[in-house]
Symmetry: C2
Subunit: 279 residues, 2 copies
């Protein structure tokens, strides 16, 4: 049982660890709650150092390793990298460094997009770091060699979402500017390659038209986690509702406020001294 | 002479240390270059963890102390906190923790604004952290008790500047929205309480009108540093051109590119492994 001390627990009764640079990865937690309601989740938001998307590769890898090791020390059976930028840049480093399975958001999102597209013209919207990494582009090319990929960096989207600038003319203008390379293209499928971007989904749909299918990687990721837990025989043995613990590196107020909106449930306790001793 | 090892140097021949969360504090460096051309400068930009403006007080204090101690370990005679958010929240903690004089940007900016205003109606534009700290409001009230202070948080300004969204209709709309509480007010003096904001100066002037005087704290800060060095007998004895060293915690490319624009000179060498071992 999960209240017993660590050495007596079987691996399958440990929580799933999920990290993101901030609050956006809670979109993945919300999907895991639906798909895997009996699993416990430890969530880490590195709110003191966000955003990751416009920072350098080495810095993102370093922060990601610190996050992963922190969650492993808390005791988890599997790590989900909910941050697209970290998934793009640091997944391999995490898989090599950690003693547990590590799942990112890229492959599940790409699998859904490849299954969705009719003409092979797929666009990816992401942070500068995600787009520059070429991770989505390479994963799509591997899954569908005939695909034409349009990769578009949208660096202001995260700030606009964080500031609640959703229903604004300024936001519409910025969406228009970023997506202008896609106007008149044959794109029929768009991957929202950042956990914040689903909040701008309506603007993206309006700009590109109703014939375009928008793929949100969070749901696909939760199903991939389910499949991996089954494959590794790590599904929780308990049938009760899972418990959730939240860790942040900045103070918890903003995290709790935005997080409860994303999750649609209360966040009772947020531990706010995470990562104080980097690894 | 500054090429001799540390123990043989007199304090006055040590560099001035200046830190900011990123590249914005180079506006202070540019002014120090003008006012104190013979001084050496060590500049630290905590680019891996920027921005500071929307983070919690405890986090800002922790990062600021790490930055200050890092520069003290490099050997400096005086510390300038070029970051308005750090100056607002962490100046006292830095002054208590460090063995050298510490100067912020708030007092010099306020002194200039108080000397500038004719009717005592002064506005401060800053990050959420700077405005929430009340540091500017209290400093203005202390210097000019009859003043009416308008404090306006403009959290998207830093992102817009960092992304180069200067000459954009979206930026004009966001400036209009943030400054709408000042329209029709009696404000005659505006302090740009963030090192990034001078790059949006024209938009602010256009929105508020030509009768408003805009105060940029960087120049005022450089003069305050000059006065303090004279008072403490710490003016460099060398009459040659000062040398400049730059330290960043993320990779140096973006820093160098934007930094050279701000400084108007080349940045030859940027040390990019700063703060790897936090204190």
């Amino acid at each position: 049982m999960s209240n017993q001390p660590f050495p007596l627990m079987s691996n399958k009764d440990l929580p799933i660890g999920i990290f993101d640079s901030g609050v956006g990865g809670l979109t993945v937690v919300a999907q895991v709650m639906k798909v895997l309601p009996h699993e416990e989740v430890f969530y880490l938001g590195d709110t003191a150092r966000l955003p990751y998307g416009n920072k350098g590769k080495d810095t993102i890898i370093r922060f990601s390793l610190e996050n992963g090791k922190y969650l492993v020390e808390q005791g988890i059976k599997l790590l989900v990298v909910a941050c697209n930028t970290s998934s793009s840049v640091a997944l391999q480093a995490l898989q090599q460094a950690l003693p547990i399975p590590v799942v990112g958001v890229i492959s599940p999102g790409v699998a859904t997009a490849v299954a969705t597209t009719k003409n092979g013209h797929i666009a990816v919207l992401g942070t500068r770091g995600t787009i520059a990494s070429n991770a989505y582009q390479q994963a799509i090319a591997a899954a569908l060699p005939s695909a034409t990929v349009y990769a578009v960096a949208c660096p202001l989207f995260v700030s606009l979402v964080e500031e609640g600038f959703l229903d604004r003319q300024a936001t519409r203008l910025i969406v228009q500017e970023y997506l202008s390379p896609l106007k008149g293209s044959k794109v029929d499928t768009v991957i929202l390659g950042c956990t914040h971007y689903p909040l701008l989904r309506d603007h993206v749909q309006e700009e590109l038209g109703q014939h375009v299918t928008i793929v949100d990687a969070a749901a696909a990721c939760a199903h991939a986690v389910h499949d991996l837990l089954v494959q590794e025989r790590l599904i929780a043995s308990s049938r009760r509702q899972g418990c959730y613990r939240y860790f942040v590196s900045d103070n918890p107020e903003g995290f709790r406020r935005i997080g409860e909106t994303i999750l649609g449930t209360t966040i009772d306790h947020v531990c706010s001294d995470a990562l104080m001793q980097p690894h």
